[in-house]
Amino acid sequence: MTALPLLTRVLRQPPSMAQLGAPEWELLLRQAVATDMGATLALLAEEHGLLQALPAQVRRRLDWERTGWRRHGQAVRFELRQVQHALRTSGLPLILLKGTAYVAAGLPAAAGRLFSDVDILVPKNRLNEVEGLLMAHGWASSHHDAYDQRYYREWMHELPPMQHMRRGTAIDVHHAILPETARVRPDPALLRAGARALPGQPGLFVLAPCDMVLHSAVHLFSEGEYDHGLRDLFDLHRLLCHFGANEPGFWTALPLRARELELTRPLFYALRYCMRVLGTPVPAATVAAAAAGRPNPVLLALMDSLFLRALRPVHPSCAGTLTALSDLMLFIRGNWLRMPPLMLSRHLFQKAFLTPRNVKLDQV
């Protein structure tokens, strides 16, 4: 229990890959694939110049992962062109979020990162117009159930996911980064105002570095599902490392911006678990400034045990007996942050019994 899983150790120290024997490689690959980080591993090995030193069989396996990722990147870039084309008459800056933003901005966090939806941020008062333009260009709304439509439009921070009828690709149109019903309401106008243009890509924008980190933290520490906990934590780690090294004043600005956006709690968790699990080099001053988001000791101890478990690779080799229980508690906690308790139980009830099962889109 005290030893970190192999994948986690490798993410902390990628050069350690060069010392692994065949049985360890097998385990590492299994954990990575189960956590959707196979391509990440491949790109890390390449980045650290380790590929030639690895056994040929391993190198070949990693190459397979890299191939899928390259095709994914091509599909994302093509999809972005289509979205831009569809929305060009709106005059809106196209603000990209999450994985889409990492790819468009060429960030290290994009390396090996696969995802199924394109995510964009638009002002709430332009939502209908954006939806109309997308529909005119071949996207259709999913979630036709009247309850789900209401769930999204009244309570959530995004339209129901839209799917392109011919290409089958999906787009999530957000107007905020947390739902209407959440306890904290980071002002989307502040996020949009801070958005940065991408050089050489007119019309495309991404969130400012602090906001990108905070959005990632919010996404991880208030989402309902933790299937991709370690992967999302690694995103955060890479964002922090990249901006820490390349964005002047980043470490000072980060806790200040968190306060401005009412996101001190997610920032506290983000820094805490990045440092503990992945060894992210966060300056002491930033840690101190982020302490404003610290919960009371009892809650913190509970969160520690839940998160440290949830942030393990999703593989049978890493599953302890408490894992199923902690995952469930985190699911409830996640939704509680997004919807007040009374509404939550009604919502879960409806979702479980009235809504037909949905199928997740394939990634590639």
Partner: protein, 305 residues
């Protein structure tokens, strides 16, 4: 070299129940685990000639076939295929364990082996020339493949044609040839010496059996082949055996349609398919009787000599 046949029954079972049986099929190493006794029986019967490895090389694929736990196992016997903590297939009745194993092994390759253009096609070789037989189900591809193999053609694969991205040669991944429904009896009559697994009824493909590949094909699993022909077969009762040329651009597109990872490979998929079309003669092939079909294929060889 240690083969499956050299393992005692208990040694084979111990590996399957414990650390896994590590089997090499062509370029791939699979770690196979199952505590269901029927799998040990099937592997002993069908994979006797195959090399068994130790754990000093990492396996490519991790195949676990297991039964559900608890009371469910008594009520409706089922088997699940697990891969790295995922379940790619719906569970199947326990009686279909061995066909499920073969389908799982195919899935592993077709979903991951992106060093090759993986075409859903049979491929056999004779006199240094390989013929690729792509076809959707119902075309008679597997019957034709089994028949050719029984008449001395080397089996490279009955389902997965691996075309190298770098030089266009074909790497073998020889495994038992799957047969269904009427073709089981056809092949039994055609090749009485062939070893067929006990037919399993009521699968999603009908009644299914597998033909053990010749030991010579398994022994030459490391030997690539150069493609000479692409033949799209279509069996029709009473049809004459006839080859009709397929225009190359059309052949390219039909190859792409029949390949698992053509789109995923991007430009490399395109150039590999184009190179393959340029290196081969491409035909549609209709036939009604296996004897006629054999003559046509021998005719192709003769033209080459």
């Amino acid at each position: 070299m240690l083969t499956v046949a050299a393992l005692s029954e208990s040694a084979l079972s111990a590996r399957l129940r414990g650390p896994g049986l590590r089997l090499r099929t062509g370029p791939f190493i699979s770690c196979i685990r199952s505590s269901v006794p029927a799998l040990a029986v099937a592997l002993a019967r069908m994979y006797g000639d195959y090399p068994v490895l130790d754990d000093d090389i990492p396996a490519d694929f991790d195949v676990l076939l297991r039964r559900p736990r608890g009371l469910r196992r008594l009520v409706k016997p089922q088997v699940f295929f697990h891969y790295d903590g995922m379940e790619p297939f719906q569970p199947l009745p326990l009686a279909q364990l061995y066909p499920m194993f073969e389908w799982a092994m195919n899935w592993c390759v077709s979903s991951h082996a992106h060093s090759w253009l993986v075409i859903h096609a049979a491929v056999v070789e004779k006199e240094g020339a390989a013929v690729i037989l792509p076809a959707p189900p119902g075309s008679g591809k597997s019957t034709l493949c089994a028949a050719l193999v029984a008449r001395g053609w080397r089996l490279l694969s009955d389902e997965l044609t691996l075309v190298r991205l770098d030089d266009g040669r074909i790497d073998p991944v020889p495994r038992p040839v799957s047969l269904k429904n009427a073709s089981i009896d056809v092949i039994r009559a055609w090749a009485p010496q062939a070893h067929l697994s006990p037919p399993v009824a009521d699968t999603m493909k009908g009644t299914v059996a597998h033909m053990r590949p010749p030991q010579a094909s398994v022994a030459r699993a490391d030997e690539p082949a150069s493609p000479a022909w692409i033949v799209f077969p279509q069996w029709r009762a009473g049809a004459c055996a006839e080859l009709v040329s397929v225009p190359q651009a059309r052949a390219h597109l039909r190859l792409a349609e029949n390949a698992f990872n053509y789109s995923l490979l991007g430009a490399a998929g395109f150039t590999t398919a184009a190179r393959l079309v340029e290196a081969t003669r491409t035909f549609d092939f209709s036939y009604g009787a296996l004897d006629d079909a054999m003559a046509v294929f021998e005719g192709l060889l003769a033209q080459r000599r």
